[in-house]
Assembly symmetry: C2
Homo-oligomer: 123 residues x 2
């Protein structure tokens, strides 16, 4: 059995939007994938940077100094403390790397906030 | 100007093999890309996990309990302390995430070891 992890394939298999799935651990961070559509809402992470990699589709990350548009294979790091609002006009597959302590909606708890327990469902 | 980072494009532009280029910072880690061909040599990183993502091509990571084969878009985390030897029979573009303190040849310094200063040449 191959031990290679195929993030795009796992993201594509997800049935729930904005519900990140942990696919690997990297020291004190998780590598997660998600299927997203619409906007998650403005928030920030006070203590942790957040890496977004677009696996498939188009993700827009609005920030107070302007948007960043990410397409297939492109990445961006939202620095700690920077307010951002990721959104996708069509279904988009993303990979995220963030500290194990990071809630993906940051300082805001809304209907898209997922608990760690939910994120840790086995792949 | 777009602030999106295109790792495959940057990796493809590199002229030197096994010479990682830092493309982003994520807390105390660097996101790097490299163009690789051949084997880097057996080594381990005592204190840090190392994430490999294949952007294009085929990377084989030999470990003592067997190899992992990674193809386009696939990833694998080599856990801290695990001896490994990444190799590519043909030119392969990879993305790596590792602690800022990690030498990419780990506990072994060989002709493929690059200093941090060299890795930090501007993109």
């Amino acid at each position: 059995m191959s031990r290679a992890i195929a993030p795009a394939q796992i993201a594509d298999s997800l049935t729930e939007l904005w519900s990140p799935r942990v696919v690997a651990e990297l020291d004190d961070s998780y590598v997660k994938v998600a299927k997203v559509h619409g906007a998650i809402g403005w928030h920030s992470h006070e203590h942790e940077d957040e890496l977004f990699v677009v696996l498939k589709g188009h993700l827009r990350i609005d920030m107070e100094d302007g948007p960043v548009d990410l397409r297939d294979g492109e990445l961006f790091v939202v620095p700690k403390g920077v307010r951002h609002n990721p959104s996708a006009q069509e279904i988009c597959l993303v990979m995220l790397i963030e500290r194990k302590t990071t809630l993906h909606t940051g300082d805001v708890v809304n209907d898209k906030t997922r608990s760690l327990a939910e994120q840790l469902r086995p792949v």
